[in-house]
Symmetry: C2
DNA sequence: GTTAGCACTCTACATCAATGAGTGCTAATA
DNA sequence: TATTAGCACTCATTGATGTAGAGTGCTAAC
């Protein structure tokens, strides 16, 4: 495969380009400390690396730029893990600061810190609601036709949903219903709710409430309408600073995509546990063809509940971001496990 | 003051520039239908209009561009109200579509429609929470130290807040407290809560709960911590399409400002009832110096609860946007009044 | 196998002239 | 007296031209 010298050159080219955003030439390479051979030699090696598809020219007589394949190889084989600086660690630890018990707030803050630390855009997915346990259900009638159903989970997450009441129902019936629901469903995981409602609760309701059929299905639907996990963003406008996005059309399509959210939801959700790196067109989305997305999952106990992600240009500081994400996801997992996994 | 001919010329210049985004010259003006005199005459008039500060040149031999003063005069005196098209009306009415009872959803949808109709950025402020009436309070303990307080208003708005419990409290005390709170506070307007808690509720609580002092103040603070009215955006990225924002730095500072939200909150909140137009630097914010902001307030009954706003370039279709906003704010007021103002 | 040297390529930048849309001014016109 | 035609002038835009600099590929020498 590649000789040690080729690997060295590839690595130096990529790291130089990540720094400078400028094509790297043989002469400027030969001046580097790490490199002890002449520019002509480098040119020969570069020519081979280009033939192998790891680097590219922007025009016939330009310096070289890493290709997606080059980045991929770099990420898979050449990456030197980078220790975090003290102040980075400090900022990172500040997620713990203050007494935050609300999961969403922790996660929102995580996105903010991550974007500040990287100067890229941070996206945090989660936490998955369906693995949470139901703490309490409340139903508050607003008028004769509608009521608000409120669901509280053990993680402090509150959800509410408007439901339509059958016209015949009266207050005492609602009260009974709420009691039954809480009695039977408290402690159940959110994903089991629907099942339990039909299997356990329906029978009970039928004994106390006229017209229970419509109500049961309304309830079942509204309590479990799979509300997707929320996305939290940090540093949405950070990409404006990257020279590759000084082009109006590129930054427009990128910002539009960020605004849509949906696309990122799909993109991030599908990642398996651990650290994942998607480079440029590996993301399969044209607005992201100059971007890389690095994701890291986090968990509560053994349950993977969400994902941290950093979106940057393909010319991204992979090594730093990967270190950051890996540390952060571990810390976050530890924090959340401590807070929410009751023995 | 200005002659009729000068007014005509000013109007045509502005409307042409709004259309084309290009400086308007005397010769191209003279070719317009509305204009029956020669380019030389126009040049003379233009010269006067420039001296008066209504129009400007971008360089010594360029056509003219409206100044902020010009737009201001146009908005105040020359605007011809523009009837809405049928499909515009239709889209506008679609806010009513479906049974939406949740105020926030209505308002969010309003922002979306407004941005689609104008191709500018829409911002909707409100609804003000403090004028809503309390429907119910619920307190759900999560563990021995923390609980979640949930507040439901008559408009279907649900708020929740983490509170810290005094270490000595037990379940039955919490239950008593919730009963007292609901008993005393239901139907009170949100802005009165704090007062009432100290004046009416504190005494009662003291009779039933040990250590009530700390709890009362925690409650009072967390129930009334003036959560500002939310901002809803539509078409955040629409400004990318405006040629005046093809400059990276301009669009960057604008998007950053939109991302911050806070600035717009201040800006929009302060507007008096009715339609208001702020042109360019009238907004006092450098990121908005090429923008105009048109606001329209909406109400529930006689209470002004929020504001619709459209942010566009100074070269904005004032007439169309004003018509839209005015119709929309009336419709929205009517809708909300019907839905939420119970006799 | 490595390197020095050289011809060649391409970008970036500056200069220059031509074009065209615009202006201001003046003198003729109605 | 108000309007207009005519003209000299200005400036942005465009395309052509030239040059400097950074880069490459190739060949021949080490």
């Amino acid at each position: 495969m590649l000789t040690d010298r080729q690997l060295l050159i590839l690595q130096v080219i990529i790291e130089d380009f990540i720094q400078s955003a400028q094509p790297v030439g043989s002469r400027s390479l030969s001046k580097k400390e790490e490199i002890s051979f002449s520019s002509a030699t480098i040119r020969n090696e570069m020519s081979d690396l280009e033939e192998l598809g790891f680097i590219e020219k922007t025009h016939t007589s330009s310096g070289r730029v890493p290709s997606e394949l080059g980045y991929r190889y770099y990420v898979d084989h050449l990456l030197s893990p980078q220790a975090l600086k003290k102040n980075e660690m400090q900022l990172l630890k500040s997620v713990y600061a203050g007494r935050i018990y609300e999961l969403e707030k922790v996660v929102q803050k995580a996105a903010k810190i991550l974007s500040e630390l990287t100067n890229y855009t941070a996206i945090v997915l989660g936490p998955k609601v369906k693995d949470h346990k139901l703490k309490k259900i409340e139903i508050v009638p607003l008028n004769s036709e509608t009521a608000i159903a409120i669901i509280i989970t053990d993680t402090g997450h509150v959800e509410n949903q408007l439901i339509t009441l059958p016209s015949s129902i009266d207050m005492s019936e609602i009260e009974k219903m709420v009691n039954i629901l809480n009695d039977r469903l408290t402690g159940a995981s959110m994903s089991d709710l629907k099942d339990k409602i039909y299997k356990e609760v329906a029978v009970l309701l039928s004994q106390h409430i006229r017209n229970y059929g419509a109500l049961v299905s309304t309830l079942a639907e509204s309590l479990t309408s799979t509300r997707p996990e929320k996305l939290f963003f940090g540093g949405k406008t950070n990409m404006f600073r990257q020279p590759e996005f000084h082009d109006i059309h590129k930054i427009h399509s990128l910002m539009s995509m960020i605004e849509q959210e949906q696309g990122f939801y799909e993109l991030i959700k599908q990642n398996p546990a651990g650290i994942n790196v998607k480079i440029g067109r590996e993301n399969q989305i044209s607005a992201l063809e100059d971007c890389s997305l690095i994701t890291a999952t986090y968990s509560i106990g053994a349950d993977q509940v969400g994902t941290l992600a950093v979106l940057g240009p393909t010319r991204m500081e992979y090594s730093r971001v990967i270190s950051l994400l890996s540390t952060f996801s571990n810390d976050l997992t530890a924090l959340l496990t401590k807070l929410y996994q009751k023995p």
